[in-house]
């Protein structure tokens, strides 16, 4: 005992040190090693029980319990029966003795250990487990403990995480299911007990009247004028509710005493967990459900809003109020999609209960806008979750049920949505609507169910109107001004983002995400009701635009500067709101441009032309007046002007797509003899001109960067999408060709303009254009490209090679120009051969120059990278134009530089990130070459394999270096995928049906590559592992890799073995699914060999198993050959194999097993 006491003190010292603030990580590791070793000792359990009984230090208690937990879960079979009994009875005694005095987490852990033991022994070796637990409910002292037990049982027995044999898992589920009715009855009884206890104090608040009128609605919507006002349907619906068994629904419980609150919280939580795994069935009685709803209704009552702060025990698993917990339990039932037929009435009853609550929630309250404001936000979240589940899972079941008034439900949802006070809660409601809209879209597409949607038209229009009000200052100023614009303003200053593209970045302002979510929902409604919704947006936009266009009359000249003479205190805010709304509505007009595309184009073209006209007018007006430099009384108006202006250009850009479709081939008429006309040619050209004017005229007038960016983006979009002779005919565009190369202020803007200008000259015009002016364009393009590349073209390479300082000073210019060309080449990817040839003709000198420069700049990684990046794109797009000889010479140059001067080795071994990037690009380049289908590049295959397998792979094979390994394996994958015939010649035997023993060539190289793949499966890098697994799978599905003779004979067994071992050791746990599928495909080469020979062989070589276990594992590995069953069987096999090994590891050495 004395030694025990001493070691306990030592242990307490260690634990206190471990959790001490100043203890270092390495000291912690040392302590953990000591603790770990202690726990490994045989008989450690005895000491743990002793310490538990004698320590006052809760860290020590936790440690001892964890050690015992480990012993129970990993070494139980290795203990003698009497030892097991001692551990079990001691722990259970501890629980009973300490559950009220110990900290709750010690109690929870004690309970967990007892349940863990039951998980292994109940009922065979622990028959009274359940009886003991249930009997705890009989004494008020142990009720709480009883519920904690039930919850832990539900968690650990129904959904165990620790290893357990598969058959035991199944057995436990079955045994536990038999106990479910008892558990439910017990919990239900406890909840009712709580209600009974407070029944006497129930205040006689009358139930709310369902016909209560709701005069104050957020809008004059179709929804608020629905029959909800008359209440006829709803009152019928709820009539049955009030007179039914749930008569107490509308009644309010007084605040509960803390003990009852604790019991109710725990019981509701426990029910929630049970509901998560038991199937819907008659076990969940209406009686139980009504009790839960009674608690759920507490949340709808502001009095019960918060739980009794400070009074509630730590027992409450989450500290949530009872209403929230009860809604959680209900939602658990709601989330089950599998509804037995006889359960539908029951669900209907449940919805009635909930919608009754919903009605209470949206009821008007005196002195506040709605009751929602008074409630716990968690409760509202739960309620919204209920609505989401209802709409997504169950609505289609009840939509056509005559007993379910779906329009009234939507009316309630509408009110619930627009009475939310918190943005997140409002978004949750929008999500519910979004699911509803998906449902309607699916319906509309499915059949001629248009009628099914007509009944919702009014509701949807009301919803769109509600949302549009939400995003306009005119209607919702207070809320909108609360939103933060911060990030957008930062971007505005830094000028490093392009307007209208913000949606892609993660860093968007609160305002922006609020606005987009609303707008996207409006757009979604518009897909169902395009005309109605567009006019809802068009009208306010038109109104605001009128005022905007009339502001000219408020300009005055003063001291040579113009200023806006609107300065009155009330007028400025009004103008501010108007401008903000205008810019929002402009975005909406841009977003809805998609409604005018495709089939809809002809019938909506008049409106489209009107819209574009107005936008062009706004653009010209804004640029002409230079509103961005007008002085304003308050600063905010200035930024409003900038924003509206930028938005006008962005919105025009959104309509470029429409214009490009209007130019489309479907409007072309071909006459005999080949003449073509386009029926809208004049309109197209006019609009194109107008847009080009809008885009170009803003570039040179000193506008803020934001507006200039929008102009440039518009120009670029026009150059890419709208191809016509118009641009080159315009003075505004022509003069840009002269100015643009010398714009130095902003490199990005300059790059974009140059790209646009090249596009205008280069990209092909539509067929109906009579004169394509190819020669003139070619000439202009050459001159133009020369104008910004001549510096590089004229370089004297020889001189540069000797002049270090010249190399340095040229580098930035070189990078800049190469990157512009790289972008332009990239853009050619979608064009025809003629354009590629034309462009290649103009830039070939530069490309060749770049290759010559490469050896000179080989130490200068940023230039190297730029050159290789350019070459990668050139190989992708201009390969044919470059020609085989040129390509070969280029690759040879790179190969020489890399291999002869050891740059590769140096780059890889010194771990210089920039140099590694260069290697990466080079491998990418080779990847393109080996992927080339033609014969001309096949000569590179052997060299590439040698480079990969003899030069690079040996350096990286044993290191992590993912930066090199990833592109290396990707190159190998491409090489195999595109050059299968290099290894496997189509065999005549196959065509004769003689099997797939096809001949292999270059076998040694093939095996070398496969071994590299195999090697990667034994290494920890998960990214490479995953990549290579996918590569193998893809080769198998394309070429039946696993079935090839060479693979079957010498590799297959090794691969399966390695993959199964990875599963057993759980070393790549994240990839379980993928690995199992690969094992399946490998086994599928020959299932009978797999089951008959491989599995026994694998088991024989697997240590840590005894003969019986091997036999059992073999016998339990069912020979199903479909993927889902096979996957399950593999999981079971691996699970049981691990379980046996764990058990065996706990046996004392030399233990004889019978």
């Amino acid at each position: 005992m004395a030694t025990d006491q001493a070691s306990l003190m030592a242990l307490e010292g260690l634990m206190t040190e471990f959790f001490g603030l100043a203890t270092s990580n390495s000291r912690k590791h040392d302590i953990e090693t000591i603790l770990g070793n202690f726990g490994q000792q045989r008989g450690a359990w005895k000491q743990c029980l002793y310490y538990l009984a004698h320590t006052h230090n809760s860290y020590v208690s936790m440690y001892c319990l964890t050690t015992l937990e480990n012993i129970i879960n990993k070494q139980w079979v290795g203990l003698m029966p009497e030892e097991r009994t001692e551990i079990r009875s001691t722990l259970y005694r501890f629980v009973l003795e300490n559950h009220k005095v110990a900290p709750y987490y010690i109690r929870n852990k004690l309970v967990k250990l007892v349940v863990d033991i039951a998980r292994l022994s109940w009922p065979h070796f622990y028959p009274d487990f359940f009886t003991n637990v249930l009997s705890l409910s009989r004494s008020p002292d142990t009720v709480v403990l009883c519920i904690v037990f039930l919850q832990t049982i539900s968690e650990e027995l129904a959904c165990p995480r620790e290893e357990l044999s598969y058959s035991r898992r199944t057995e436990l589920r079955r045994l536990l299911s038999q106990q479910v009715p008892t558990m439910l009855t017990l919990l239900s009884g406890l909840l009712e007990g709580v209600v009974e206890k407070h029944k006497n104090a129930v205040t006689a608040t009358p139930p709310p009247s369902p016909t209560h009128s709701h005069s104050h609605s957020p809008s004059r919507s179709g929804l608020s004028s629905s029959p909800i006002q008359t209440g006829s349907l709803l009152s019928n619906m709820f009539h049955s509710l009030e007179s039914g068994p749930t008569v107490r629904m509308g009644w309010v419980l007084p605040p509960l005493d803390p003990e009852s609150e604790t019991i109710a919280s725990l019981a509701l939580n426990c029910l929630t967990h049970l509901f998560s795994w038991i199937p819907l069935s008659s076990l969940i009685t209406p009686h139980l459900l009504n009790t839960i709803f009674l608690f759920a209704s507490l949340g709808a009552d502001p009095q019960h809003n918060r739980h009794h702060n400070g009074l509630v025990e730590k027992n409450c698993v989450s500290g949530e109020s009872l209403g929230v917990l009860a809604m959680g339990a209900i939602n658990e039932i709601m989330s089950k999609n599998c509804v037995p037929h006889d359960f539908e009435d029951f669900l209907l009853q449940m919805f009635r209960n909930t919608f009754h609550l919903l009605q209470r929630l949206v009821r008007e309250e005196p002195n506040t806008t709605s009751r929602l404001q008074l409630l716990d936000p968690s409760y509202i979240d739960k309620f919204s979750e209920f609505l989401r589940l209802f709409v997504s899972v169950h609505l289609r079941r009840f939509e056509n049920n005559s007993q379910f008034p779906v329009l009234e439900f939507l009316a309630l949802l509408f009110r619930y949505t627009f009475r939310q006070h918190c943005v997140e809660a409002y978004f949750n409601c929008l999500d519910v609507w979004s699911i509803f809209l998906d449902h309607l879209s699916a319906k509309a597409q499915g059949s001629q169910e248009r009628a099914g949607i007509t009944r919702y038209t009014d509701a949807l229009i009301s919803l769109a109107r509600g949302i549009l009000h939400k995003i306009q200052h005119r209607h919702n100023q207070a809320e909108l001004e609360e939103l933060d614009h911060e990030i957008r303003e930062e971007i505005l200053e830094n000028n490093n983002a392009y307007y209208g593209e913000l949606g892609d970045g993660e860093d968007v302002s609160e305002w922006h995400s609020f606005f987009t979510r609303n707008l996207e929902l409006v757009a979604k409604i518009a897909e169902l009701l395009p005309d109605e919704i567009f006019s809802l947006v068009y009208e306010p936009w038109n109104d605001a635009t009128k005022i905007y266009l009339s502001l000219q009359s408020n300009m005055v000249e003063q001291d040579g500067r113009r200023r806006l003479n609107i300065s009155a205190e009330h007028e400025c805010p009004r103008l501010h709101c108007l401008l903000r709304d205008l810019s929002s509505l402009l975005q909406a007009i841009g977003r809805l441009s998609t409604l005018f595309l495709g089939e809809e184009l002809p019938k909506r073209s008049t409106t489209a032309v009107q819209v574009i006209d107005k936008l062009v007018q706004m653009a010209n007006y804004s640029t002409g007046l230079k509103l961005f430099e007008v002085q304003t009384a308050v600063e905010v108006l200035h930024s409003d002007f900038v924003e509206v202006h930028a938005q006008v250009l962005s919105t025009l850009r959104a309509w470029v797509h429409w214009l490009s479709q209007l130019y489309g081939q479907q409007f072309v008429q071909v006459f005999p003899g080949g003449t073509q006309t386009h029926q809208h040619q004049d309109t197209c050209h006019t609009i194109n001109k107008q847009m080009l004017v809008a885009a170009t005229s803003i570039l040179n007038v000193g506008a803020p960067p934001l507006i200039v960016n929008c102009g440039v983006q518009l120009l670029l979009s026009l150059s890419v999408m709208v191809r016509s002779p118009v641009a080159l005919e315009m003075n505004q565009v022509q003069s840009l060709y002269v100015q643009a190369p010398s714009i130095l202020s902003d490199l990005k803007v300059r790059g974009l303009i140059l790209r646009a200008l090249v596009n205008f000259l280069l990209l092909p015009w539509p067929s109906f254009v009579v004169d394509h002016k190819l020669d003139t364009r070619k000439h202009h393009l050459t001159t133009f490209i020369n104008s910004f590349t001549s510096d590089i073209r004229k370089l004297d390479v020889q001189r540069l090679a000797d002049d270090k300082s010249m190399q340095e000073s040229l580098a930035p210019k070189l990078c800049d120009t190469l990157s512009i060309i790289q972008y332009q080449v990239g853009e050619l990817n979608n064009t025809d051969k003629a354009s590629r040839e034309l462009y290649y003709h103009c830039v070939q000198d530069v490309i060749h120059q770049a290759i010559l420069l490469f050896p000179i700049y080989v130490q200068h990684t940023s230039v190297c990278e730029e050159i290789l990046a350019l070459m990668v794109v050139v190989m992708q797009v201009l390969r044919v134009q470059l020609g085989a000889v040129r390509v070969e010479a280029t690759i040879q140059t790179f190969l020489d530089v890399f291999t002869t001067r050891h740059h590769l080795q140096l780059a890889i071994t010194t771990d210089n990130p920039a140099a590694v990037r260069v290697v990466d690009k080079f491998l990418k380049l080779l990847e393109l070459i080996v992927s080339e289908p033609g014969q001309s590049f096949k000569r590179f295959i052997p060299n590439t394999i040698t480079l990969c397998m003899d030069h690079i792979y040996p350096i990286v094979s044993d290191h992590t270096s993912p930066e090199v390994k990833s592109p290396l394996f990707e190159l190998l994958r491409c090489l195999l995928e595109h050059n299968w015939k290099y290894f496997f010649k189509p065999s005549i035997h196959i065509s004769l049906g003689a099997g797939n023993w096809d001949s292999i060539e270059n076998e040694a190289q093939f095996i070398q590559i496969m071994q590299a793949f195999g090697q990667s499966f034994m290494q920890p890098d998960i990214t490479i592992f995953k990549h290579n697994l996918e590569a193998m799978e893809s080769l198998n599905s394309k070429y039946k890799l696993y079935h090839k003779g060479v693979f079957r004979n010498s590799l297959l067994v090794h691969f399966i073995t390695v993959l199964l071992q990875v599963l057993v050791h759980r070393s790549q746990d994240l990839l379980q699914e993928e690995i199992t599928i690969t094992v399946y495909n490998m086994a599928a080469v020959d299932f009978s060999t797999y089951f008959g020979a491989f599995v026994p062989h694998f088991l024989q070589n697997m240590d840590g198993l005894d003969a019986d276990q091997r036999t059992a594992l073999k016998a339990n590995f069912k020979t199903d050959t479909d993927l889902p069953t096979f996957t399950q069987n593999v999981q079971r096999f691996i699970n049981d194999l691990r379980y046996y090994r764990t058990c065996n590891a706990s046996l004392p050495p030399g233990t004889v097993k019978l």
Partner: protein, 221 residues
Amino acid sequence: MHNTVECVDQSCWAQEEPDSSTAFTPGKYKIVLLGDGGTGKSSYVSVLQNATFRKEYIATLGVEKHEISLTTSHGPCVVVLWDTAGQEKLGPLRDGYYTDANAAFIFFDVTSRVTYKNVPNWHRDVLRVCSDIPIVLCANKIDVEERKVKSKAITHHKKHKMGFYEISVKERISLKEPFEYLLQQVTKEPDLTIKDSVDADLFRGVGELSLLQSSLPQEQG
């Protein structure tokens, strides 16, 4: 009278009784990170500490403690992050690490279903030790294209009182938000924000780049 149910006689446990509501000095918080191995906990911590993203995976053994100082809109605070190992490498103390924690992150990997399947287990483990601490669920690796756990399938956080964020430690997407959420909850200051100080620049990194890339015209002519 019943409010004393749990504390009638704490004398034998009184010494160093870890209690999540009183154990921390104001402004100093213990936050634990849990979740399956390889889901990005240590990478997250190392990004928070302004180191670079860890490309290679080194499994954490037991626990690693990291202290970081932050400036918030409500004053300075020190957070001690307890980065725990995924299940296989959990040390001898396992859930013992969670004692005294003021808040917790639970990580999973959207490219691996099993890691999401295990979220309830981690959650249940931490709740048993700290019944009422704020918890945030982080769905990591949303930058990876072949995502297996879709947003719609993630429902665990809706069943419990917990924050939820889809993040990418690698691409530095939404790294600040879950942290801020926990601090708001712990301090009960819903408006608290983490100030961008020198070592908090890390929260914004790749954003600018991706904006630039996306500025190329997406439409096909």
